[in-house]
């Protein structure tokens, strides 16, 4: 396990990050967009844990930070779903392109 170089974790994280970004920009369903955001957050988590392990093996900050991010992500998901439910009640859709009343 120690043999895996740190770059590989970065590749994975980069792939997951851009997958999330792509999903966020292309999926029209708000739930799917929320899931994409989770992907982005998890890409960041991978980076935190990997770099913590490789650079400062005797410290725990990176690990704890990712735990925080997981906690915050859970809270954020709860808020986001509440918003989405409200949007649905109002617009009868969760297609993000249809929810466009805030414009010029």
């Amino acid at each position: 396990m120690v043999d895996i170089p740190v770059e590989h974790f970065s590749y994975i994280a980069l792939f997951v990050f851009f997958a999330g970004l792509y999903g966020f920009f292309t999926r029209k369903n708000m739930i799917a967009m929320l899931m994409s955001i989770e992907l982005i957050l998890n890409a960041v988590n991978i980076q935190f844990v990997a770099f913590n392990y490789y650079l400062y093996p005797d410290l725990m900050e990176g690990m704890i930070f990712s735990l925080f991010i997981i906690g915050v992500a859970a809270a954020e998901a709860a808020v986001a779903i509440a918003i989405i439910i409200n949007v649905y009640r109002r617009f009868k859709t969760i297609n993000v392109e249809k929810v466009n009343s805030m414009k010029y």
Binding site: L21, F24, F25, V96, E97, V99, N100, M102, K103
Partner: protein
């Protein structure tokens, strides 16, 4: 100067002001007649207080060290700008302010009473009396002003009340135009007054009239001798002040508003445009007389020339007018020219001050007989329902009281012994002769013209052809004839007042002497004028038309008032509107507005082009944001480090 003597005089303007406020605020809620009574009561109160003051001043207190003193009855700081500059309100009592108090309250009271008959049944009866109160208040504030600034303020107030009263029939376009014209012309002239007053105050540091006009040690003496364009500062200042006075007093060439002002109700013409407001200019010059005579003889010469010219000019126009009120208006202008001329030729000490005394005397007499003429004209118009003498004739059968009183006034203005005009006109001619015979002969000729046009008016109205009237003309009601009779008595006997005992430039009484070499020629020329008028107009005849035909050029010039109005119109339309104003308006519309509109339309264009960016599409915003972050990222990586 004693303190607080005559403090009660302050009640006159205060009571009139309260009357104005009360009638103005509640006039439309009560019976109009009650409003009239309140207003009349206020002016009668002023009348009583004025006469009492005059009696006390001249006969009880009398001379102090051989001269009439100046009292500051009341003085109060009104506006305080800086410790150096504050404006007071006060009451100044001296011979001329008392004389003006008497003139204003007497004529105003007569007009108040007269208007009960004349304005009866008019819809704006209460409004009329409110404005009369306002006018009387302002005029009294003007004459008792203790400083120039107060005078200026009330000067503008009388202008406003004159405007309001000329425009009394505000449904009539001609009345509205006339009121605007009067206001604009006098306001334009008042600009001269304001500038002159500020110049004077700048160089003396005071508005106070007592300090300004003290003959020993004039406050203005410290001003630089040579000012602008080789004319001293003080001459500029009092010259400009005279322009203000000339505007109010309808002196050439600022007289154009006065004939049009006849659109107002006739009692208003009698009060404002014959007896009181139009002589405010004369009063102003008389007030500042020590400055004129000691420091600005050039300006005084201008006063004399303008006065003399206006008197001739107006007399010539008056001969050919057919609207009786306009004849009287031009006659007013001519008589005020007399007063101005008399001030202009006057000296200061003793008998050299005859002109000053004569001017005030004539002002007093003129107020009486001219308001009588106007009120008589009002009674005639009331009976005949026309302003034109061509619609009148043979009225002496129908209007006996008006006839007699009008005749007395006409004799008085023509200067026939023993009516009042004779005495004052005689003194004016004496003063003119003492200064320069040219003035004398000019005014002598004007005296003849005056007699002629007055009796032309008189004969055309009361004599002339027998004619049938659709409605039989009726003598005016008692409320109108009583003021006529009272004023007729005043016009007949006022000449016997020994005026030089009361009013003189240096406040020291002097004796006037009878000058047969002046009195007889002036009587002769007046008699000649009357006889010529009698021959031409007493019986219907063709002579007037023939003469008018043979002198058609002059006749037309005079009938059209020398085209002064047209010259003004041409000047305003062609020069001011056509050249200056249209260029200014082009600049405003194209350059100024163009610049601002350009900014607005540019902003508008940019926003039209860019507003599409705010599409409401969340994912687009995200892309913009990420692209921006990436761009910054690249910048940081490749350029900054």
């Amino acid at each position: 100067m004693s303190e607080a003597l005559y403090l009660y005089t302050v009640l006159i303007p205060v009571v009139l002001f309260l009357s104005f406020l009360f009638t103005g605020l509640f006039g439309n809620k009560m019976n109009p007649i009650v409003t009239g009574f309140i207003s009349t009561a206020a002016i009668l109160f002023g009348l009583v207080v004025s006469y009492y003051t005059a009696y006390h001043y001249f006969f009880v207190d009398g001379l102090i060290d051989g001269a009439y003193p100046t009292h500051i009855a009341f003085d109060m700081e009104w506006l305080r700008f800086t410790p150096m500059l504050s404006i007071n309100m006060g009451v100044l009592i001296d011979p001329i302010s008392i004389m003006m108090l008497i003139v204003v309250t007497t004529v105003s009271a007569m007009v108040h009473i007269y208007s009960f008959g004349y304005m009866k049944g008019e819809s704006g009866f209460a409004r009329f009396y409110t404005f009369l109160s306002l006018f009387s208040f302002s005029m009294i504030g003007l004459v008792v002003a203790s400083n120039l600034f107060q005078m200026y303020m009330f000067w503008e107030l009388v202008g406003v009340s004159s405007y309001l009263l000329i425009g009394y029939y505000y449904e009539k376009p001609s009345a509205v135009n006339a009121s605007k014209k009067a206001f604009i012309v006098t306001r334009f002239a008042d600009f001269g007054f304001l500038t002159g007053m500020l110049l004077l105050a700048y160089f003396t540091g005071t508005f106070d009239l007592v300090a300004l006009t003290n003959p020993e040690g004039l406050a203005i003496a410290s001003a630089p001798v040579m000012g602008f364009l080789g004319i001293s500062v003080v001459t500029w200042a009092v010259g400009l002040i005279f322009i203000g006075g000339a505007g109010k007093s309808a002196m050439f060439p600022l007289h154009i508003w006065l004939p049009d002002a006849m659109e107002g109700p006739t009692p208003v013409s009698a009060l404002i445009h014959a007896a009181t407001m139009v002589v405010a200019g004369v009063y102003l010059v008389a007030r500042l007389f020590p400055i004129y005579v000691f420091s600005a003889p050039g300006a005084l010469e201008m006063v004399a020339i303008v006065g003399a010219f206006s008197s001739v000019f107006a007399a010539i126009i008056a001969i050919t007018q057919t609207d009786i009120k306009r004849v009287l208006a031009f006659s007013t202008m001519s008589q005020i020219g007399y007063m101005m001329m008399a001030l202009g030729v006057s000296g200061f000490y003793g008998e050299a001050g005859t002109g000053y005394m004569a001017s005030m005397f004539h002002l007093f007499n003129h107020a009486m007989f001219k308001s009588l003429l106007f009120l008589g004209a009002g009674a005639i118009i009331h009976a005949v329902h026309s302003n034109y003498m061509t619609d009148m004739g043979n009225l002496r059968k129908y209007l006996p009281i008006t006839h007699i009183t009008f005749l007395i006034a006409a004799l008085a203005i023509s200067g026939i012994y023993p009516f009042s005009g004779f005495f004052s006109k005689d003194e004016i001619l004496v003063a003119a002769m003492a200064k320069n015979p040219i003035y004398f002969w000019v005014e002598w000729a004007v005296a003849g013209l005056t007699a002629f046009y007055m009796f032309r008016l008189y004969f055309s109205i009361f004599w002339g052809e027998k004619r049938e009237y659709e409605h039989k003309p009726q003598e005016a009601p008692l409320s109108m004839t009583i003021p006529l009779l009272l004023l007729a008595v005043a016009s007949a006997v006022a000449g016997f007042i020994p005026f030089s005992k009361f009013v003189s430039a240096d406040r020291i009484p002097f004796e006037v002497h009878f000058h047969p070499l002046i009195a007889y020629p002036s009587l002769a020329v007046a008699a000649l004028g009357i006889i010529v008028a009698a021959v031409m107009y007493m019986k219907p005849s063709k002579t007037p038309d023939k003469i008018a035909g043979s002198l058609s050029g002059i006749y037309k010039l005079s009938h059209n008032k020398f085209y002064i109005d047209e010259i003004y119109l041409w000047f305003t339309h062609t020069i001011i509107f056509g050249m200056v104003a249209s260029a200014a308006s082009w600049f405003d519309r194209n350059i100024i507005d163009g610049f601002l509109n350009g900014i607005a339309s540019f902003t508008n264009m940019v926003s039209e082009k860019t507003k599409g960016l705010q599409s409401g599409q969340l994912q687009q915003y995200g892309i913009y944001m990420i692209s921006g972050v990436l761009a910054l990222f690249l910048v940081f990586i490749y350029w900054i480090s």
